[in-house]
């Protein structure tokens, strides 16, 4: 059966994953923004990440942001 594999991050793994992506310190410093609404991201508001043409794009918890991120053309 054709399946869509969605990779998920558990909240307790989030700092480690963000560190391995090289954005943890910038995120903690408020330098990483939601690619949809532009709000600065925090560990609590971080919701999703997608790679588009080699660039990482991020989405926050606000309604519509992760949906918009999931449907960005790639």
């Amino acid at each position: 059966m054709d399946k869509e594999t969605i990779r998920a991050i558990h909240p307790s793994d989030l700092p480690q994953v963000l560190a391995s992506l090289g954005i943890l310190e910038n995120l903690k410093a408020g330098k990483v923004s939601c690619s949809i609404c532009g709000d600065p991201l925090t560990l609590e508001s971080f919701r999703a990440v997608v790679k588009i043409q080699g660039q990482l794009r991020f989405g926050c918890r606000k309604e519509g942001c992760s949906q918009a991120l999931a449907t960005l053309p790639h």
Binding site: E4, T5, F46, A48, E63, S66, Q67, H74
Partner: protein, 360 residues
């Protein structure tokens, strides 16, 4: 199986028969990937409560969401169309989270702890709908209509999941806000809701959008493609809101979408003869339509006032199906019985049969 029957069986056959029945019950679960995921989720949940270990919490979250969503999706499945796709969840940890490990286009979502599992269900239902429906034609669907289709598909998926907390959370926190955020969202959503109330959202709109996506695959977006999709929604909306004896278009013929509809609702007409319906199908085929839907609205009330006429109505519907396949080159794609809300707001049982022209 009620308790007295089980007790009687136990007394007559001893514990072996109970053991065999239990083994058969578990075998049935284990042979079904999604049911066994739900069973695994229960074990992981119990283990997590006892030990508090992260791996067991992850096992519970992933298996519970996967089992629930995939079983719900199977119940929504109509004909050959698979919308949305089944979901598989893979955890990312620090060791597998470098930028190079992420494929282009890959979507990674941060979930919540298991105490907020209803939000995880909503999040992944939304993600799988966003990622797998309207594939190849999103560029041709305006954002407000995309949102209306996605949100109503997620809503239907969550209704099938049967988790009221997840559905409530979605309707309160996502559905209303997203519709309000799109300037044209309410208008499209009203149309999609009316189409859904008539049972035509999953059975016609999504099926035809998938057929459309296959036809336009690889073509660059063109304005007429968006017009074709918006025209389909308008066509189905008119059909869905049709009042008794109101004339509405029963064909929708564009560059890619070529659909015909035959409505079987007038008892006297069908009891007199099936010929008008066969003729309607022939006219649709002469117009080179690719798919024709026969919508039959059940006459339960007829069974109460005139059981013989009701039996004859049912027989005429069966005869119509046989005659359509005998007298025309069409092929039945699917035949689904469902319930819907009619123009008067009453629940009605109905049947949707999709025929396609071979090689269309």
């Amino acid at each position: 199986m009620d308790l007295s029957f089980a007790l009687e069986l136990f007394q007559k056959s001893g514990p072996w028969i109970v053991a065999v029945l239990v083994a058969l019950y578990f075998l049935r679960i284990l042979m079904d990937e999604d049911r066994s995921a739900l069973l695994r989720a229960r074990f992981f949940k119990a283990a997590f409560r006892l030990t508090g270990r992260l791996e067991q919490e992850k096992g519970y979250i992933a298996n519970d969401v996967k089992g629930r969503l995939n079983l719900a999706r199977r119940r929504m499945h109509h004909g050959q169309a698979v919308l949305p796709r089944a979901v598989e969840i893979a955890w990312v940890d620090g060791a597998s989270g470098s930028v190079d490990d992420i494929r282009d286009g890959e979507f990674i979502v941060r979930l919540d702890p298991s105490t907020r599992q209803e939000q995880n269900i909503v999040l992944l239902a939304t993600a799988v709908v966003n990622r797998t429906t309207l594939a190849g034609i999103r560029h041709s669907v305006q954002p407000a209509l995309q949102a209306a289709i996605d949100l109503n598909l997620v809503r239907k998926l969550l209704v099938e999941v049967g988790n009221k907390q997840a559905l409530d959370w979605f309707l309160t926190n996502e559905y209303k806000a997203l519709i309000a955020n799109h300037p044209e969202g309410s208008r499209w959503n009203e149309q999609v809701l009316a189409i859904d109330e008539r049972g035509l959202f999953a059975l016609m709109l999504l099926v035809e959008l998938e057929a459309f996506a296959k036809q336009v695959y690889g073509r660059p977006p063109r304005p007429y493609m968006a017009g074709e999709i918006e025209g389909l929604v308008a066509f189905l909306y008119k059909l869905a809101t049709k009042q008794f004896k109101q004339e509405v278009p029963l064909t929708y013929k564009r560059a890619f979408l070529r659909i015909g509809v035959i409505i079987v609702a007038q008892t006297a007409k069908l009891l007199t003869s099936i010929d008008p319906y066969v003729r309607a199908m022939q006219i649709h085929l002469e117009r080179q339509l690719a798919s024709v839907y026969v919508l039959v609205f059940d006459k339960e009330w007829l069974g109460e006032v005139d059981p013989q006429a009701h039996a004859r109505f049912e027989e005429q519907v069966r005869e119509l199906g046989r005659e359509l396949e005998r007298a025309t080159p069409i092929v039945k794609d699917f035949d689904v019985r469902y319930s819907c809300t009619d123009a008067a707001g009453q629940r009605r049982r109905a049947r949707c049969i999709r025929y396609v022209l071979p090689n269309s």
